[in-house]
């Protein structure tokens, strides 16, 4: 420890700062009987207010987009609030599709009060059943048969009279009416026999003329009478039809009269019943078929006629219930808008109003529909259909193929149903911003954003509420009871998950995972409850399941495949700290950063950027440190240095500016020639004024370097230098805290880059005196002297080069 300056000692982070402990005695997971459950609302007041506001505003467009990451219990919160709001509303009306007798391809939508839809459907089914019996029975009545016979008799008499009079007239005039298979021939008679041309010639001329005239006149008369036969038969059919309608009307009026009385307060239903009555009477002959004939598929099926009076109940609500709250987990087009099904019949696809199916929009009509936006956007046509429905305030059920003009089979155009709905979209923030930016209609339809907090303040009150939240979730999942110390440990882990010792993560899925896994390990040891050890076991096993790559990196370093020194000193070389993020798991590990310098024209080259392995933020960090270098040293002379910085053995991309402090130190070491300690690792970003700034992933970074040092043997010299501003984020693993407590590992916190360089070199950085000069033998003096020296040489080199040119 002799090489550490006093100032460095002052920068050591006390053990108490490394991990903010949650005292078990402060934990109380029991909730009072009157206390509301905190599970879904804790720390989300802003989002809750926004959702409630959207649900209360009746104007169009006040739909809500709930922004929050996966696993933040967005659905539970939305469901709870939507159900609260739904309780203040009555159940919406029922909706049915009924046959449009005038245009069957355009089924009509019929609205009924909540609960009446199912009743009406049942009434119509009963009516059909009664009609199926009543109408054939009416036709089987003896009176009906007698009336039909009478009508047919009258017609027959009329026809016989027609022929009889013609035959008699022809006979009187000496003309025979001969039948052929297809008609009649009028021929002259002589002595009751048909005569031929020779016999005709023998007749007196007068008689011949008379015969010709008779045949001519009788032919015309015959033609006229033949023409009148279809009319006579048609008249018979019409009379029978009128009789049928009269019989049907008599049977139906009684049955429908009861229904009309029942629904007299619903004009739309009465209108429909009137239409049904007219249609039944018009189709009375179709109801007379009582038995299935042979080859029934070739004849008209009376059941199809009865089916046209069925009621397709597409939305059914319970009278006295609350408004619906629907969550559609699979928001495909049919599931959202509805669909028109078809049935195969004789090789053709047929449909009718009974095959219209409602989607979630209609099911939630009058209430709330909750959808996951990433699923909505992932299903073809759904987003556009959703917007269309909201803009038009009606649901038009049609198939996507018809919309696209690809329909290849007969389909329907059901009457649109008026829509009054609140849509709640749930999605991640980037999707909200994407839609806000690129979809101009989005803002008109989703005027309210409810932004869920990722974490909450770790205040005393919130810790208590959080403990109760943990208690609720333990209870909901039937887990073993957690003792207070275990709950305290879980709360500490929630701070660690939030990457902030002063906040608690609201990511509920990861909380549930920890609780369930701890419960598992407790059950594995046949315990009756979950203790701190079970929490630790759960954490250890989770890391063990996921740290394959981390172990590979450490192994590569141990075997000197990846070159990282953890002892000694080296000029222009420093251990930086980087984070590898694997989604559900991330880990920190050291990375060697080197810098080289020489006289030049003032460029600091970021090799990562040059080879396009560095991201924009990393490049920005390097540019800032170059600017800091220029600003801090030899401001009166041109910066005459060429420097280059690189992440050694880094073959993937590098992003972020968290290595800029380390890069700056490597650069100063290279310029000054003062070696840097290799038993330390550095993280932090630097601004142009030399201020060290906070970075992300601080816990994993520290633990990553600790793991390597532990593998190689901790001797008390190892440690990390972090930004002071990151102290509040420290929630280090217990093992690291113990190592620091036992002085096997150190954590330094710096606010200025001078502090960092002093820790890394054991030398004073040096501050400018009244003459604006750094003290001799300080790092800053060495750097400035070197840069002035470079500038002079560069000036001489330039003058020489210019003189040469002049000479030449």
């Amino acid at each position: 420890m002799s090489d550490r300056s006093e100032r460095a000692q002052a920068l050591l982070v006390p053990v108490s700062e490394l991990h903010k402990v949650c005292p078990p005695q402060s934990i109380d997971i029991q909730r009072g009987p009157d206390e509301p459950a905190p599970s879904n609302t804790l720390g989300q007041q802003r989002a809750i207010d926004a959702i409630r506001f959207a649900m209360q505003v009746g104007s169009e467009g006040y739909n809500v987009f709930v922004l929050g990451p996966l696993g933040s219990h967005r659905h539970g919160l939305v469901e709870e609030l939507a159900k609260d709001s739904a309780r203040e509303k009555c159940a919406p009306d029922d909706w049915c599709y009924i046959n449009n007798f005038a245009d069957p391809e355009r089924p009509r939508a019929l609205r009924l009060p909540a609960g009446k839809g199912a009743e009406f459907r049942g009434n119509m089914q009963a009516l059909i059943a009664e009609i199926r019996l009543a109408i054939p029975a009416a036709f089987e009545n003896e009176d009906y048969g007698n009336q039909v016979k009478a009508l047919e008799g009258e017609t027959q008499e009329e026809l016989e009279g027609l022929w009889g009079s013609l035959h008699e007239q022809a006979k009187r005039e000496g003309i025979a009416v001969l039948q052929t298979p297809t008609g009649y021939v009028l021929a002259p008679l002589a002595e009751d026999k048909v005569i031929d041309d020779k016999e005709f010639e023998k007749l007196p001329k007068k008689r011949q003329k008379s015969i010709k005239e008779s045949i001519q006149r009788l032919s015309e008369e015959l033609e006229a009478r033949i023409e009148s036969i279809p009319k006579i038969r048609k008249r018979l059919r019409e009379r029978i039809r009128a009789l049928d309608q009269e019989v049907t009307a008599h049977a139906v009026n009684v049955l429908l009269g009861e229904l009309k009385n029942k629904y007299e307060e619903l004009p739309a239903v009465l209108d429909y019943l009137e239409e049904v009555q007219r249609d039944i009477i018009d189709n009375s002959q179709a109801f007379r078929q009582t038995e299935s004939p042979a080859l029934s598929f070739l004849v008209h099926d009376s059941s199809a006629v009865f089916a046209s009076y069925e009621v397709n109940l597409i939305v059914s609500n319970e009278a006295g219930a609350t408004a619906p709250v629907i969550y559609e987990p699979n928001p495909s087009y049919p599931n959202i808008v509805g669909k028109i099904e078809h049935r195969a019949e004789m090789g053709a696809l047929l449909t009718d109003f009974r095959l219209v199916r409602s989607g979630a929009l209609l099911q939630a009509n009058g209430g709330y529909l909750v959808l996951d936006i990433h699923r909505v956007l992932g299903r073809p046509f759904v987003w556009e259909a959703l917007k269309q429905a909201l803009f038009s305030k009606q649901v038009r059920i049609e198939s996507p193929s018809e919309i696209m003009g690809f329909a290849t089979t007969a389909t329907l155009k059901p009457e649109p149903v008026p829509l009054d709905i609140k849509i709640v979209l749930i999605g991640e923030r980037w999707l909200y911003y994407l839609l806000s930016t690129y979809d101009r209609e989005f803002g008109d339809l989703f005027k309210v954003a409810a932004d869920l907090d990722d974490d909450i303040e770790r205040s005393t009150g919130n810790v208590t509420a959080y403990a109760q939240l943990i208690g609720d979730r333990i209870q909901q999942r039937n887990l073993l009871p957690f003792d207070n110390a275990a709950v305290a440990k879980v709360i500490e882990q929630r701070a660690r998950h939030a990457e902030d010792s002063e906040r608690l993560s609201m990511h509920m899925r990861s909380l549930d995972d920890l609780l369930i896994q701890a419960d598992h390990w407790a059950r594995q040891r046949d315990a009756n409850g979950v203790t701190v050890e079970d929490i630790s076991e759960a954490i250890r096993h989770r890391e063990q399941r996921q740290n394959r790559l981390q172990n590979k990196v450490i192994d590569a370093i141990k075997r000197d495949t990846l070159l990282i020194d953890t002892t000694g000193e080296c000029v222009g070389q420093v251990n930086g700290l980087s984070i590898t993020d694997l989604g559900e798991y991330r880990f920190g590990h050291p990375v060697r950063i080197t810098a080289t310098t020489r006289i030049g024209k003032g460029d600091v080259v970021d090799i990562e950027r040059e080879v396009k392995l560095g991201g924009a933020i990393h490049s920005k960090g390097v540019m800032i440190l170059a600017a800091a270098l220029s600003a801090r040293y030899a401001p009166d002379v041109p910066l005459s240095l060429n420097g280059s910085i690189v992440f050694e053995q880094s073959y993937g991309g590098v992003e972020g500016d968290s290595a800029s402090v380390a890069e700056f130190c490597a650069l100063l070491s290279s310029i000054s020639g003062v070696p840097l300690r290799q038993n330390l690792a550095v993280t932090g970003s630097v601004n142009q004024l030399g201020r060290v700034q906070a970075v992300g992933g601080i816990n994993e970074k520290i633990e990553g370097f600790y793991e390597l040092c532990k593998e190689r043997g901790l001797d008390g010299s190892h440690g990390v230098v972090i930004p002071y501003d990151n102290l509040k984020h420290l929630m280090l693993a217990e093992e690291v805290v113990d190592a620091v407590r036992n002085k096997k590992f150190s954590v330094y916190a710096a606010t200025q880059v001078d502090e960092v360089i002093e820790i890394l070199t054991g030398k004073q950085a040096g501050e400018r005196d009244e003459q604006q000069e750094f003290p001799p033998e300080t790092i800053n003096r060495l750097v400035e002297d070197k840069l002035i020296d470079y500038a002079k040489k560069w000036q001489r080199f330039g003058a020489g080069a210019g003189g040469d040119k002049k000479t030449a």
Binding site: A176, P181, T182, V185, A187, V194, D196
Partner: protein
Amino acid sequence: MTRKQPEVRRVLIAVTEANSVPDLLHEVTEHLAEETAELVLVFLNDDRWRKAASLPFTREVFRISGVSTDFTSTRAEQVHQEVIDEILGRLRQFATDAKTTLAFETIPEQEAVRLHDLLTSDADVLVAPSSFRERPIYKEITRLKCRLRFVEPSEAARRS
């Protein structure tokens, strides 16, 4: 004491172009109980169509449409053949169903005397429409030794 009727040897159906065969078949069925009985169809051709067609001013008025057209000799022959074909078709189907043989002959009405060759005893039956009573052939029929059965036209036949 009643005299027992002899078994049926031959059933002869006599029709003209104006008769309905289905009406006669019911009567024929009653007499075809004997498996050995023979069925004979005689079509009495009275030549009325040919005679009518020989006149230049006769016209055929069609039953369905009421339209009329010249009734020519060709058309008369065609009608004659159509009627025979239709009657024969029905009788052949009937004979097949009744598992008996069918003989067919066309006789001009003025040659009705030839019926004596076909119907020689009271073991034979002549089935004819009742309208034959008004035809010249009736005198010849009454002189036959066979049994006679005259059939009234049905309601449907009258209607058509």
